[in-house]
């Protein structure tokens, strides 16, 4: 890459950013709301979502098929001591699992689904250690490892890593392959997890194949991790396959944003509360509808009003109700100009009216 190219590229990048900013501020900001779209019912939307087909199925299959001839190359690079990092648009889960089950049959393979929140790296490491143990045992090479397999669960992460990082025996290699879907997944984005993954990848008995989807994924690693521990060998393998499982926990943009939706959930929550609690909520709602421009209802005012109407007997009971509301995000607090804590309902006036109507029925 010529230096002038680099500069040009950087210049182009900043120019694009400012152009985009300008486009936003100069043009009249569109005030159209999501709720103006003629949204279908959420249930219907979810059904349609589940039934969606994807376009170009044949071409996608051909594309994924074309990567098959690279499998031997990938295995070779793994054996050379590199970690494989797959990137490009489209779900790569099926591709790398197929790669693992056809080309990596000589090694034990653990698949880790990084797109899930619930990953426990300790458990993963224990499983890998057990697999390695089995493998070494079948090769009868464990004279110098008197440890019992059962004890892996009680060992610390450091001990497990030093077991996995043990020396290779001269007659043959012994690997466990970790296939990591979405190493940039939400459950693995903290630096501690990435440090552990890097240390695992650096172990002499572990081969690592991982995929990333986020354009900013490399920001998770420092140079030490990239160059010496993961030792990535990048492969650009766009598949265009739909992110079926990867996207499973993402909220649908059109399903939760409409006010209809929030009114519905709010009324469900409110109806499960006691009538007194509902009435306290109504006091706040009435105040907000009467003073649409105010910051909210000061706490003391609310308390006096509720006492007058025999809704609460003490501040403690009122606080209990408010805690309940806050937990369900029915009510929020902010300070007004006098420094008082004010309560407000994060809904538009129309939605609030609808809600009040629904709970009075």
């Amino acid at each position: 890459m010529e230096p002038s190219d680099v500069e040009e590229e950087e210049f182009g990048f900043s120019r694009n950013y400012f152009l985009a900013k300008e486009l936003c501020s100069s043009g009249k900001k569109s005030a159209r709301k999501v709720s103006d779209i003629n949204l279908v019912d959420e249930q219907e939307l979810r059904e349609a979502y589940a039934k969606l087909e994807f376009k170009h199925e044949k071409e996608i299959n051909d594309l994924v098929n074309s990567y098959k001839k690279l499998y031997t190359e990938w295995v070779y690079m793994l054996r050379c001591g590199f970690g494989l990092l797959m990137y490009g648009f489209g779900s790569k889960k099926a591709l790398i699992e197929d790669f693992a089950s056809t080309a990596l049959t000589d090694y034990s393979v653990v698949v880790i689904n990084g797109y899930l929140q619930s990953i426990n790296l300790k458990q993963v490491t224990v499983t890998i250690a057990e697999l390695l143990w089995d493998q070494l045992k079948t090769q009868r090479k464990l004279e110098n490892h008197p440890k019992n397999q059962q004890s892996f669960h009680t060992q610390s992460m450091d001990d497990l890593i030093s077991f996995l990082d043990g020396p290779h025996l001269e007659d043959g290699e012994c690997y466990v392959c970790a296939v990591l879907n979405n190493i940039d997944g939400p459950g693995l984005r903290d630096s501690e997890s990435q440090q552990y993954l890097a240390r695992l990848a650096a172990c002499s008995h572990i081969l690592m194949v991982a995929s990333i989807d986020n354009v900013n994924a490399p920001l998770l690693w420092n140079k030490k991790m990239v160059h010496t521990e993961f030792n990535w060998y990048w492969h650009h393998v766009p598949t265009y396959a739909p992110y079926k499982v990867e996207g499973i926990f993402f909220p649908l943009i059109l399903a939760h944003s409409g006010s209809a939706q929030s009114v519905k959930t709010a009324s469900i929550v409110l109806q499960s509360l006691t009538p007194n609690a509902q009435n306290v909520f109504k006091v706040v709602a009435d105040h907000q509808l009467a003073h649409p421009d105010a910051e909210g209802m000061p706490f003391n005012n609310l308390y006096t009003l509720c006492r007058e109407r025999f809704l609460v007997s003490s501040q403690i009971t009122l606080n209990a109700h408010l805690t309940e509301f806050k937990d369900h995000e029915l009510v929020k607090t902010r300070r007004n100009s006098d420094g008082e804590d004010c309560l407000f309902i994060p809904l538009t006036s129309e939605a609030l009216q609808k809600l009040v109507l629904e709970i009075t029925q």
């Binding site: 299959n61 070779y76 990137y87 698949v111 990048w234 996207g247 993402f250 909220p251």
Partner: protein
């Protein structure tokens, strides 16, 4: 009102068994083929080459290739290791001496305080500090790495640890990770104990270390703690650690070695003043990264002819990347590993491929395809050796102006073109403007080197020729001439020395002039020698037989494999989906969005027309207009995405339900969110999504 985030309410998307488990075992090594295929597989036709013989052959090839790689890389790796070791040898020896000197001081103090040192609790209460005096300080070496990229120094510190262990110290190598605020000083003590005692301890205590040390039969070894990147440690934790060590310093003779990337002042910045006073600091320096780089290039690319080399494009790329982006030696070494791993020679049967190489055609004998292999290979070796040694000779000249070998190497690969104008150019400059220092940019390094040679004093010239003599040993073509020149200068030097002595007796201006002309002729001789060998042996690498194999020059491959560029590539995937998918339907109308395109691709292309905020409502309608092929609705919003909607020639039926279009929209937004190109609407801006990336 809060979005229902719990997975139980998620839509019923059919998933395979393992998809929702955090992890599972796909198969075990022992069962070579997975018996039951419970997992979803890609629906693929079996590979064409499925007959046994072919795959067995492929497997065999791969093993040979791997063995070759192993051989080459272990070779290169050991060369690099040796080079770095030699570079650091002096510093390591100095540190070693210092460690033992400090240890002796501590021991002297220990015997003084033996009575109190044997009890099993911290002995340095305030009353004793005065008595113990100097020994209440921890001996600390600051090892300045002069390199902000600490990744290059990891191996250096590991080597230092090994070196000290070999001379009989107990060594613990700690990193900044052991000094993070989260785990506190307990975490650092834990890893310290782990390294010294070789067991994990749940409740770390200094007394455990003390009793371990006193229990040893021969407790006459120093304990060295190496922390490789002090700048990255949490200041408070390091502070506590030092205070703690200092309480025990007489009982446990701990010596600290701290790696510092910036300056010695750093300790004052991260430690509090009292902790600074506990340290008795001594400074050491490592070589600069540039020195290391030069040494590695010299050893791997120029001196060893067994391995592969990098061609001009690859070397240029690496040089630019080293100087402008990464700056780490580690990447360079990784790249070398990449070359060893990915060489065309290793991929295909050698002979078959070699026959087709144009560079070998010259060595083909007249009868058929018979190649004089021995001749070609020895020629390869000879030419390469000559080339390398001349580059090294030029580098020796360049040392007077601090030229980096990497720059020189790149330039030699580039400029070794048949246009030997360089030499001609030099002639011009030498005639016109003898004393001007040529600028490297204009005329190239070589011309500049000739200039330096002309201006070199005789003494220096003599030294230079001595070094050349060393460099060219074993290369008959040059060595003789260098020796000749060497004797000439020796003669000249003696002569001039005698002259000088005589001159001091009878000062005349004539002898001075005479001496000057003599000097010029000698320098001129050296220059013309260099010019002649340059003309003769620095050929473009294309002239070397088999250069296609030994010079790795596949820059694109190298760049994508080593660096990757997800930010650009993923966006490009989205914007140019038809190129990659190669479908017949979309490729017909390039540059126009049509309903049959990939949804996310359509959406991202549409997003390009918005500013940094995208109004979801408008975005949805432009999307809907495209996928449903309807244009009446879209006309009003033609400002947003003008051209695509004019097309009505799609054959997609218009019966698409709102639900399915909305679902497609949702899916595309989710996919863009997964790629990180989009931020979802916030509470403050419920109707807008935010673009994250601008420009490919």
């Amino acid at each position: 009102m809060a979005p229902a985030a719990d997975p139980t309410s998620s839509p019923p998307i059919p998933t395979a068994n393992g998809d929702l488990q955090p992890f599972f075992v796909l198969h075990k090594a022992a069962s070579r083929k997975p018996a039951a295929k419970t997992r979803r597989r890609i629906d693929l036709s079996p590979p064409k080459n499925s007959d046994g013989s072919a795959s067995a052959e492929g497997c065999n090839d791969n093993n040979t290739r791997f063995e070759t790689f192993r051989f080459l890389w272990s070779n290169t790796e050991s060369i690099i290791k040796d080079v770095l070791k030699n570079l650091n040898a002096n510093v390591f020896d100095e540190i070693d001496k210092w460690v033992y000197a400090s240890f002796d001081l501590i021991r002297a103090c220990r015997t003084l305080e033996l009575t109190s040192a044997t009890c099993n609790y911290p002995i340095l209460n305030n009353a004793l500090i005065g008595a113990v005096g100097a020994s209440s300080q921890i001996f600390t070496a600051l090892l300045s790495t002069k390199n902000i990229e600490f990744v290059d120094d990891i191996s250096t510190f590991a080597e230092l640890g090994a070196h000290l262990r070999s001379t009989g110290c107990f060594v613990a190598n700690l990193t900044s990770l052991d000094f993070c605020a989260k785990n506190g000083v307990g975490g650092s003590l834990k890893s310290l104990l782990r390294q010294f005692l070789m067991v994990g301890i749940d409740a770390p205590e200094m007394s455990i270390l003390a009793s371990w040390y006193t229990e040893r039969e021969t407790n006459d070894k120093p304990l060295v703690v190496i922390i490789d990147d002090v700048e990255r440690c949490s200041g408070s934790v390091l502070n506590d650690f030092i205070v703690m060590l200092r309480e025990w310093v007489v009982k446990i003779p701990i010596i600290l070695i701290l790696g510092v990337a910036t300056t010695a002042d750093v300790l004052r910045n991260i430690l509090c003043s009292s902790a600074c006073l506990y340290l008795s600091v001594c400074e050491f320096n490592l070589g600069t990264p540039a020195e290391r780089m030069d040494a590695i290039i010299e050893a791997v690319l120029l001196k060893s002819c067994q391995s592969f080399n990098i061609g001009k494009h690859a070397s240029n790329f690496l040089r630019n990347y080293f100087l402008k982006h990464d700056g780490t030696l580690t990447l360079f070494v990784k790249a070398l590993k990449g070359f060893d791993g990915d060489n065309s020679l290793l991929k295909e049967p050698v002979i078959k491929r070699a026959l087709e190489l144009p560079s070998l055609q010259r060595y083909c004998q007249t009868r058929g395809n018979c190649i004089d292999w021995t001749y070609a290979l020895s020629e390869l070796k000879r030419l390469h050796q000559l080339w390398s040694s001349i580059v090294m000779c030029l580098y020796e000249v360049g040392r007077y102006r601090k030229i980096a070998l990497l720059d020189l190497y790149c330039e030699m690969l580039n400029s070794g073109a048949p246009d030997l104008n360089l030499v001609a150019k030099d002639h011009m400059t030498s005639v016109n403007n003898h004393h001007s220092h040529g600028c490297t940019q204009d005329k190239g390094y070589v011309v500049w080197a000739f200039q330096i040679l002309r201006d070199l004093p005789t003494m220096e010239l003599h030294k230079l020729l001595d070094r050349w003599e060393m460099l060219t040993r074993g290369i008959a073509e040059i060595h003789e001439k260098v020796k000749e020149l060497q004797s000439l200068t020796t003669l000249e030097e003696n002569h001039s020395r005698r002259d000088l002595r005589e001159e001091s007796k009878k000062p005349t201006s004539r002898t001075y002039r005479n001496d000057r002309t003599n000097k010029i002729t000698i320098n001129e001789k050296v220059v013309s020698f260099l010019q002649s060998v340059f003309r003769e042996y620095i050929h473009p690498i294309e002239n070397i037989p088999l250069h296609e194999i030994i010079f790795f020059d596949n820059v694109d491959y190298l760049q994508t494999a080593l660096i990757g560029d997800p930010r650009r590539r993923i966006q490009a995937d989205l914007l140019e989906s038809r190129k990659l998918l190669k479908c017949s339907c979309c490729s017909k109308s390039p540059g126009v969005l049509i309903p049959s395109m990939h949804d996310t691709s359509i959406m991202y292309t549409l997003a390009q027309e918005h500013g940094d905020l995208i109004n979801v409502h408008e975005w949805f309608h432009s999307f809907k207009a495209i996928v449903s092929g309807v244009h009446s609705q879209a006309k009003k919003r033609s400002r947003m995405s003008p051209s695509p909607k004019k097309r009505k020639d799609s054959n997609i039926p218009q019966s698409r339900s709102d639900a399915s279009i909305q679902a497609e929209f949702c899916r595309a937004v989710t996919e863009l969110q997964i790629t990180g190109l989009l931020r979802m609407p916030s509470k403050r801006r419920p109707d807008y999504v935010q673009r994250v990336a601008f420009g490919v």
